[in-house]
Amino acid sequence: MSALSHAPARIAYEVRGYVRQGDTMLFTFLFPVIFLVLFSSIFAGEADAGGTSIPMATYFLPGLVAAGVLLSGVQNLAIEIAMEKGDGRLKRLGGTPMSPVTYFLGKFGQVLVTAVAQVTLLLLVATLVFGVELPTDPARWLTFAWVFLLGLAACSLVGIALSAVPRSGRSASAVVIPVVTVLQFISGVYVADFQLPDGVRTVGALFPLAWMARGMRSVFLPDSFHVLERGGTWGLGQVALALVVWLVVGAVLSRLTFRWIRRDA
């Protein structure tokens, strides 16, 4: 019970720590906004499908919303936890009466708070600066909510699992950032999904980002754009399935690799 009662204070502590990390703010929090500004400035003109044309900012927005979820979950937690292991902070926590449940609630809460702030900022910049029209249909926002939350949960667990890979806190960024960046290229974030070669699309579909991006396209793009998807439909059932599978994979890998107190054999 006390593990839960400490959670709000722990979340506040984690969020404060996140905001004070300059490089986290730049490479995790502001990254999608920076790319939205870059893309929308570089690629002028419009994208069209099925007779409907939209501004490029609208076209890139769903991919960048999905990328924000990936960065807030995977990149943020994988680097932060690897650094906590590397510099002895995790070991020190293990020596206090703080429950590991509180620790993880703090992490999940921090991810949720920062990801919501991040996507809010992204949508604000998209509408106010680039004139993107957001959907008004409540059903679309319902889709947004479940893709966002399910994707964030899966990415958080994958991030915890990935934190086991770097051999030291110092190498955490060098290990995690390339993985996350390549994933964004092959999942239709930087390069539009339908322009990717079929083999690349198939590889991308093995990972959660491509599915989150697809789900977000169904929210933010005109319905006629579904013809550009593989199979010619939004395929939200497949999106849900893929994210649930990654949620389970992330949970199992985290359980197997994470040690609160790393007692040797």
Binding site: H6, A9, Y13, R16, G17, R20, Q21, D87, G88, R89, K91, R92, G94, G95, T96, P97, M98, S99, T102, I261, R263, D264, A265
Partner: protein, 289 residues
């Protein structure tokens, strides 16, 4: 003292890593309220032992009890009664001294006042500075502050003053004495024999993973190792030393024989450091033999 159970009981402790045995047949007890120093050369098994007591490492054999609990299975309630100051120093981080202490204090049932602890470690002027911007010595004090914020019954200090300047070390000693004065049981490992001499009630010397000696600071090494040493310069210019249980008689004899004040006269009792080095040398010779 006989009526209260020991704070720490180590009985036949053994720890091996593969073929390498780090600790073997180690047994000692620490009484409540006592400051106990564990001494030994690098790699002797001090840190392995303290980390087993802290619940960070599993033991290979023997029994261990810390505040009546097996550290291998101790839960969060047990941890709330301990204070741990680890050997390696963390890099710091983005929180201020006060923020970190205030946050950590909330996990303990009866924490000390944050302001009192900040004052006790002498960081009043740095209370609102981020820990990452402090010097190594100041960060070590933050570590000690975090170790005592929960009002621990038992405090582990693993080489706490490494890298301190002499002034900081003396201030640290005062802090530890005041904690001991409040009844905190302290287990200290250190390389500085003067530190053990200043702080500890009893010391245990570990060499090669085994207990070489244990006893009061004034008793360890036995009576013979405490025999005073007289040093003087002879008329022929040679520097002489002699150990004798009756140094005054020797000095009187020298004074008569050499006529007046012997040059460079000194009478010293072996320090804990001398006794310790003799123990290590003796153990090393045994191994060589």
């Amino acid at each position: 003292m006989a009526s209260t159970p020991p704070a720490v009981v180590v009985d036949g402790l053994r720890k091996s890593y593969g073929d390498v045995t780090a600790v073997e047949e180690l047994s000692f007890e620490i009484h409540p309220g006592e400051t106990f120093a564990l001494l030994g050369p690098n790699g002797a098994g001090k840190s392995t032992t303290i980390e087993i007591l802290e619940g960070y490492r599993r033991r290979t054999g023997g029994t261990v009890s810390v505040l009546g609990t097996d550290p291998g299975t101790g839960g969060l309630d047990w941890r709330a009664r301990l204070g741990i100051v680890l050997q390696d120093l963390p890099e710091g981080g983005v929180f201020t001294v006060r923020e970190q202490l205030t946050h950590t204090a909330r996990y303990y049932p009866r924490p000390r006042s944050v302001d009192e602890v900040i004052a006790a470690v002498g960081l009043e002027s740095k209370a609102d500075t981020r820990i990452g911007r402090l010097s190594g010595g100041q960060r070590r004090r933050v570590d000690v502050a975090l170790g005592v914020i929960g009002r621990p019954e038992l405090l582990f200090l693993d080489e706490p003053t490494t890298g301190f300047d002499p002034q900081a070390r003396r201030e640290f000693w005062d802090l530890i004495r005041s904690l001991a004065g409040e009844g905190t049981t302290i287990l200290l490992t250190t390389h500085y024999l003067d530190e053990a001499e200043q702080l500890a009630d009893r010391v245990g010397v570990i060499i090669g993973g085994r207990l070489a000696d244990i006893g009061g600071v004034e008793e360890i090494g036995g009576v013979t190792s405490r025999v005073p040493v007289v040093r003087w310069r002879e008329d022929d210019g040679e520097l002489r030393t002699r150990r004798t249980p009756t140094p005054a008689a020797l000095v009187a004899e020298l004074s008569t024989r050499l006529g007046g004040e012997p040059q460079e006269l000194a009478v010293t009792r072996p320090t804990l450091e001398d006794v310790y080095l003799d123990l290590v040398a003796a153990a090393t010779t045994e191994v060589v033999r």
